[in-house]
Symmetry: C2
Subunit: 206 residues, 2 copies
């Protein structure tokens, strides 16, 4: 792509560094900004800069937070002995949206992935083990995605907690509510049969 302006080329280049945004999309976004009032660009630019310089993470669960202890960790009505281990803040938001969970979270910041050069020390596993050692945790729920990396991470943490008398569980894998059996993949379907639940329990959930 040949640009008639270095400023434009630079803005398009930086925009195209974002994931899933190619050069063409980046150009479309930048030209859109140019057509809008100048204030919009200034607001976007400032929001990115302020976020990056002022962002804080909860000292306990590592969720993004504007204060030292996030709203969830600081909420006395929540069960502090129950901790759900998730990959990133989006998972926290997704689980919070269900309105079904009253425990705390622990945000790992990723999964162990030798392929991408991410080891246990790059995640917040140390701080999780610390909390466990202090006896704050009774049950740990693994809610990582069901991939090789997710399973590896679960297992790594599980080994670290050995002998601490902490109950561990993973979220249930199965056929999504509303889904047709015939379109389910065989691994999920197989697991959902293996891990079947008493019918009475499924009625209670309704």
């Amino acid at each position: 792509m040949e640009f008639s302006s270095k400023l434009l080329e630079n803005a398009v280049y930086e925009m195209s560094q974002l994931p899933g945004i190619g050069k063409r999309t980046a150009l479309r976004l930048v030209l859109h900004l140019l057509k809008q009032p100048k204030e919009q660009s200034v607001r976007l630019s400032n929001a990115i800069q302020v976020l990056r310089s002022d962002i804080k993470f909860c000292t306990s669960c590592h969720n993004i937070s504007d204060v030292a202890l996030c709203e969830i960790c600081g909420n006395n009505k929540r069960d502090k002995s129950l901790v759900c281990v998730v990959e990133d803040i989006r998972d926290v938001m997704a689980i919070e949206n269900t309105g079904q969970y009253r425990g705390l979270y622990h945000v790992l910041g990723g999964k162990i992935s030798p392929m991408e050069g991410i080891g246990p020390q790059d995640l917040t596993i140390g701080s999780l083990v610390e909390k466990a050692k202090n006896g704050e945790i009774k049950e740990l729920i693994f809610a990582l995605s069901s991939t090789m990396e997710g399973d590896t991470t679960n297992f790594y943490i599980y080994k670290q907690l050995e002998g601490m008398n902490i109950k561990t569980s993973t979220i249930a894998r199965g056929i999504a509510v509303g889904d047709e059996l015939e379109y389910a993949d065989e691994i999920t379907l197989g697991r959902s049969i293996m891990n079947r639940i008493p019918f009475e329990n499924s009625i209670k959930a309704l």
Copy 2:
């Protein structure tokens, strides 16, 4: 969506103001920036801000340019009597990429669209008519998209130039090179038969 941080919420909101970027994508982009070195966010933020404050438009063709007269308008090897009217800078880039065109451009900045409240006075039509009046233009090529708005804009400009002895043309509409006839829409196919060209000319183009 419930956010655990106002800074995050604000950055996601501003990002989601871009076209084609919803709240979820915006969150993904912002979290990506947080995972990258701080410099990347600073560069993106600065690039947007500098672009918006320092951007210039060519005084002649209204293309984006870092200098008063853009590279194309200032190029003495190009045919200044031939002007191609386009909607925005992306069209200039697309036509330049073909390497087939040696005239100048005129960037309108949009199309006349009563539905979106865009009238002739919102575009650079005045400056085009001015150039025409000065006798600088011998031929005008309309290269707007083939929509109601594009046709309206073409016709509006055409009427403004009446009596000025300027040749006008539109780019050819037809079956794309490499396309199968059976998949072509009927309007395009119809036009391509109506506007057929001598076989000798089509050989020359090879």
